[in-house]
């Protein structure tokens, strides 16, 4: 490999340097019909799963074909997306917040033709490349994090748990038969880069063993005061240990105070939490972001732990499928998963979903915990 210079001169880093220019203006990338009718849309309809129609005040119409993807994608895959966009949608394509693709076409016939084409593209292993769906009262694509693919703090994998889950709920990605949209999110540790705290169903990687202390290296790799300050429960304190006659400055951990958040590890690489036996997944449900009918709501932990079972996490997907199917069967039209659980009562939710209620599910973290306990004699037998 011969180094290919871009033109950058490492001896004179400021020479010809361009910085602080931000993104390109989005106006350069709008398809003509979008540009022409910008801010002048009249209404929309979902023609069939994965196909939207938008009608402008001018009478112009545009059809959107929405397809799922894995958010981890290769340049070869993106090149194929470009070829599709060039062939079908005038060389334009959009990505959605939830990692779907959207192509704009002019007619319903063209949309259906593109849908057929996209649904026909498969990888050699048999999976779809661009399954069409993700609209209306169904399950759309999962927003997620890096997991074991590229992160130092995960308690599980992201891409694998997402693939395993979407395979199980795929029918609901391609259809619109649920009472309301169901938004599934995945975050591979409590840092929640995936911000799963307001999702209908959340998959969350958790640790269950306190950090191991790498005493002989800690003082060289970390600022001890920062590691101490990082602990939200005050479980970490400065300490000294003697190993083979030598004294090391380090930290001590009050293990019974650890809530396994991993914030100390973020500040100090000598405090790893990751553990094949300890790590796994918590499942949370009932959050939402939309203000529709009810207020935005946090997700609640309903399964404190399921083990990591790569590659397909069967216990996790079984729980998710059971919750989804029970909701689909029991909820009213327009009722989000959390609104359904609130209406029937959470005691009934556990009963219907056949989930055990354990002491781990009673909140004991600071003031907000109190507001989750029951301060009424109203409850259901």
């Amino acid at each position: 490999m011969a180094f290919i210079s871009s033109g950058y001169n490492p001896d004179k880093p400021m020479e010809g340097r361009i910085s602080d220019i931000g993104p390109r203006h989005f106006g350069e990338y709008l398809p003509p019909v979008i540009k022409k009718n910008f801010g002048k849309w009249d209404y929309h309809e979902i023609i069939e799963p994965g196909i939207l129609l938008h009608v402008a005040e001018s009478g112009d119409k545009t059809y959107t074909v929405r397809a799922g993807t894995a958010r981890l994608m290769s340049v070869t895959h993106i090149r194929e997306i470009c070829e599709i966009a060039d062939k079908f949608s005038g060389g334009y394509v959009r990505f959605t917040t939830r990692n779907n693709l959207e192509f704009q076409v002019e007619t319903e016939e063209a949309a259906k033709e593109l849908k057929t084409y996209l649904n026909g593209q498969t990888f050699p292993g048999g999976s779809h490349k661009f399954p069409v769906g993700g609209t209306g009262a169904g399950v759309t694509n999962i927003v997620h994090t890096q997991g074991w693919v590229h992160c130092h703090t995960p308690a599980t994998d992201a891409s694998g748990t997402v693939k395993a889950t979407m395979d199980v709920v795929f029918d609901d990605f391609q259809d619109m038969k649920l009472p309301a949209p169901v938004r599934i999110s995945m975050a591979c540790c409590l840092n929640m880069c995936g911000a799963v705290h307001c999702s209908d169903i959340a998959i969350l990687g958790i640790h269950r063993k306190p950090p191991i202390i790498d005493h002989q290296y800690l003082d060289n790799l970390c600022e001890i005061p920062l590691a101490v300050a990082a602990c939200p429960t005050g479980a970490v304190r400065p300490s000294k240990v003697e190993i083979d006659g030598e004294t090391y400055k380090t930290v001590a951990i009050k293990q019974e105070r650890c809530m396994f958040c991993g914030n100390c590890y973020t500040m100090c690489p000598s405090l790893p939490l990751s553990d094949g036996e300890g790590d796994g997944i918590a499942i949370m449900v009932g959050g939402k972001i939309s203000n529709r009918i009810t207020k935005p709501a946090f997700s609640k932990v309903v399964v404190p732990y399921v083990p990591n079972e790569p590659p397909r996490w069967p216990t996790m997907t079984k729980v998710i499928k059971k919750i989804l199917d029970t909701y689909a069967e029991d909820a009213n039209k327009y009722e989000r998963l959390g609104d359904w659980a609130n209406r029937i009562g959470w005691e009934r939710f556990f009963e219907k979903c056949e989930l055990p209620f354990t002491e781990h599910l009673i909140d004991d973290f600071r003031d907000p915990a109190y507001y989750t306990w029951r301060q009424t004699t109203q409850f259901k037998w």
């Binding site: 220019i21 931000g22 209404y43 999976s127 779809h128 619109m176 409590l190 911000a195 914030n263």
Partner: protein
């Protein structure tokens, strides 16, 4: 021929949902074949080694990535996340495998020329693997070596006129819904505001000067497709002040079954005929809708703009004309002090492009000044708010106190009165007091 055996990952190639494993394998093959004769600038087999290290994680249930080191481009304190494998001898192709965050076009619209130009850089100088897109909204280039960082930055800025995104304790890359580009609900031009503020605050985006990360997100309406209320320290959510516009003929068409309710979103199941009383009137959270004698009436003063009636009958009901945004502050994921949603700071702001959004910028800068003064190291603004109180933020932001800022008044009488709130102040004379009250 695969470099590593990956029996566990191979099981993720079946099933209907797109397989990231198949895609990484496809990239590994493409690089091995190298039909274009590229002189790859990082190890050709890095996708193979990524599969290898991932298979190891699938086997032992633990990650094999180390903490990031301090890597980046000259003059920036963000945009690159250092990443190193903890088994570099076994997987040399990903021994150094840094992430590069690239500023996405707002609303995530692309033409194929831009996409091809981006992947051309990344194919030569990186792993050829990406995230489209990262959780905050950036284009994420997944895996390159340190010597390539300046080269990638140079080509992005010189050839594509595109910058890096944010990371660390700085303004993170702002993100927006698709707004007016293709949505009739957009109450303001989310993309233009997002673009304008991104450009205005380039320094804050690239050079960490904050206590911790800070995110802006822009939702065009209370449906919240980009999750601003849950995921951004400062959320700008479209809203309006005047009545919802009602087209009674279109209402009749919904009632008569000529138009599918909810834009057809429930078409996969037979829910029976549309019942406007049950599906719209009875579900209104503020009970402000009535339907009598074939006429839909909305008591505008009582409407809380939840969007349900509009979502259900988008051809009959339209958001009002006096549009702007609500501003909410302090959303974050649970680390460390529990999850928070944005709390309403400004019920209504005009979104005025003509004066370059000055009122919004003044608000942002007041909030930042307060947080930079008061915030502790690694404290999100939502946590500073909890520690010092919503009223302190309202005061610092220079916005009026408003009953809309709370769900209900305080539950306790522990009011932190100030001396100037009280007649005569706090300076009292004990001798004067004793003239009235014996010891």
């Amino acid at each position: 021929m695969a470099k590593h055996k990956t029996p566990l990952l191979d099981q993720l190639e079946s099933g209907p949902w797109p397989s990231f494993v198949s895609d990484i394998k496809q990239e590994a093959d493409a690089r091995a074949k190298n039909e274009k004769g590229l002189d790859y600038q990082i190890p050709v087999d890095c996708p193979d080694d990524l599969l290898g290290v991932l298979e190891m994680s699938y086997t032992d249930g633990e990650t094999h990535w180390k903490h990031g080191g301090i890597v980046g481009v000259f003059g920036y304190g963000g945009g690159v996340i250092g990443r190193y494998c903890d088994q570099p001898q076994m997987f040399p192709g990903v021994a150094h495998f840094h992430t590069v965050r690239v500023a996405q076009p707002n609303g995530k619209w692309y033409n194929t020329e831009l996409l091809r130009n981006l992947i051309k850089i990344w194919e030569l100088r990186g792993s050829g693997l990406t995230n489209m897109h990262g959780a905050t909204g950036d284009i994420v280039f997944l895996g390159t070596t340190t010597p390539q960082l300046e080269e990638i930055f140079w080509e992005l800025t010189h050839d594509l006129e595109i910058d890096l995104g944010g990371s660390g304790s700085n303004l993170r890359t702002p993100a927006t819904c698709l707004g007016m580009s293709r949505c009739e609900y957009a109450c303001y031009d989310t993309q233009e505001l997002c673009y304008n503020l991104t450009q205005e605050y380039q320094d804050e985006l690239h050079r960490p000067a904050f206590p911790y990360k800070f995110k802006f997100k822009f939702d065009g309406c209370p449906n919240g497709c980009v999750a601003a209320i849950a995921r951004s320290d400062l959320s700008f959510i479209g809203t309006w002040k005047d009545p919802i516009k009602v087209d009674q003929e279109a209402v009749a068409a919904y009632v008569g079954g000529e138009i599918a309710p909810n834009a057809g979103a429930h078409a996969g199941r037979d829910w029976g005929a549309f019942d406007i009383q049950k599906e719209v009137v009875d579900l209104c959270p503020s009970n402000c809708i009535s339907y009598e004698d074939g006429k839909l009436t909305i008591d505008h003063k009582e409407c809380v703009r939840c969007m349900h009636c509009i979502n259900t009958m988008p051809r009959a009901l339209k958001v009002g004309d006096e549009r702007g945004c609500s501003v909410l502050c302090g959303a974050k994921a649970p680390i460390l002090d529990g999850p928070q949603m944005g709390s309403l700071l400004v019920p209504f702001m005009e979104v005025n492009k003509d004066d370059d959004y000055q009122a919004i910028k003044d608000l942002i800068e007041n909030i930042w000044d307060w947080w930079m003064e008061e915030g502790k190291n690694r404290e999100r603004i939502g946590e500073t708010m909890k520690r010092l109180g919503m009223a302190a933020l309202i005061d610092a932001a220079g916005v009026p106190v408003d009953a809309r800022q709370v769900q209900e008044p305080r539950h306790n009488p522990y009011i932190f009165w100030k001396a100037e709130d009280v007649e005569g102040g706090w300076d009292r004379d004990i001798n004067e007091f004793r003239k009235r009250h014996q010891r």
